[in-house]
Point group: C2
Chain length 226, copies 2
């Protein structure tokens, strides 16, 4: 897969390296060609680098790491995004004292409204840098979820496949509007990591347990959460 | 520990049984003494039953399962709650098509404002009935989180201990205001269980992974979530 990274800071650089290690073709984009090239040089693994425009033109899948910024301010023309998968991995800034505002509109939905011809998919907003260091092994033994939401099912499945490639356990979360809940998870795990001092190896995941052998309690099943 | 269950439906009945199995003294309260007694009779394990007033008087720790209802409407006098630990395990009702409203005020905070002399603790709102069937074994091997928030640290620690008793892995989430995020987790896991058909054995948990042996990516640590 050809992957373009828009904004090659910490997050973009790390995910780009992980995908390049798995033999994907990766292009690091940045505000200037020099900066993008420098990231590629330090990243190795046959990666390339240049401007964000070049990265957007290069990739079939694009990772958008530029939190809350309209792509029209980043790219010469947003037409280059038409029909491409655009992964939004962002969370709102952490407010003073973790006094998060309730999420009325997710960053992913905001992005989708700005580039309606792109296939926006929410993913990779619930783990810290430390977790990427564990990819792909032993990470693939730990069942760490990547929560994936997007209105285009094929795009969602592609991103789930890219998550699995680097050792994560993708969870299909359906439509893009569920990004609101997923960004809420991003808020929660950042609070635990930083505010509650669990550190960057703290992860949040969904796991389906094996069924009980005996049903001794006799309550209603499944829909019984209060 | 003496535990009173206020509202002995599915959730209250199951948790009451689990605690009684661990040799806690449990009293099931209900709108009528007859109903509370009937729950105790079917629950066994030396449990007692009667009115909600009696359950509130009996317990040092109280489980409040009556979603969103002011205790003043349930009890003859709320003075009986003064200084007692009051566990709120509730989530807002699931709206049509899972179109959740953003949580401005959590149910737990609403409850705390209604009974300011009680020590309200949020817990047990992120798992379905099925998971209780696995308690305490093999549940204690699965690291299933109970997210616990409350403004009184001792109360929080007591509820964490009650969660551990029945095989869960308690996670200290700090002040009661973080119930907003925890109730968001409740919304999310109910969507996955029902809407995405993962079923009632789907759980959401926090796990801290072992550190990476090599730090090859070289990004900033810990605060690097986007």
């Amino acid at each position: 897969m050809k992957i373009g990274i828009l904004g090659s800071g910490n997050m973009g650089r790390s995910l780009g390296i992980l995908w390049a290690e798995q033999k994907h073709e990766v292009f690091f984009g940045s505000r200037t060609a020099e900066k993008g090239q420098a990231v590629a040089e330090s990243a190795g693994n046959n990666t390339q680098g240049g401007t964000n425009d070049e990265a957007a033109a290069f990739g079939d899948v694009l990772l958008y790491t530029i939190r809350g910024v309209n792509p029209a301010e980043v790219l010469t023309s947003i037409d280059v995004l038409d029909g491409k998968i655009l992964i939004d991995c962002n969370n709102y800034e952490i407010p003073e004292n973790f006094a998060y505002q309730p999420i009325e509109l997710s960053l992913a939905e905001k992005l989708a409204s700005e580039v309606p011809q792109a296939l926006v998919v929410k993913a990779f907003n619930t783990m810290a840098q430390e977790v990427f260091e564990l990819s792909p092994q032993p990470l693939n033994e730990y069942n760490v979820s990547v929560f994936v939401a997007g209105d285009d099912e094929d795009a969602r499945k592609m991103v789930m496949s890219l998550a699995a490639d680097i050792g994560f356990a993708p969870v299909d979360c359906g439509e893009l509007r569920f990004s609101r809940l997923i960004e809420g998870l991003g808020d929660f795990i950042r609070y635990l990591i930083i505010g509650q001092k669990l550190g960057g190896y703290a992860t949040i995941s969904v796991e389906t347990l094996p069924e009980a052998k005996n049903q001794r309690l006799g309550g209603r099943q499944s829909s019984s959460l209060h």
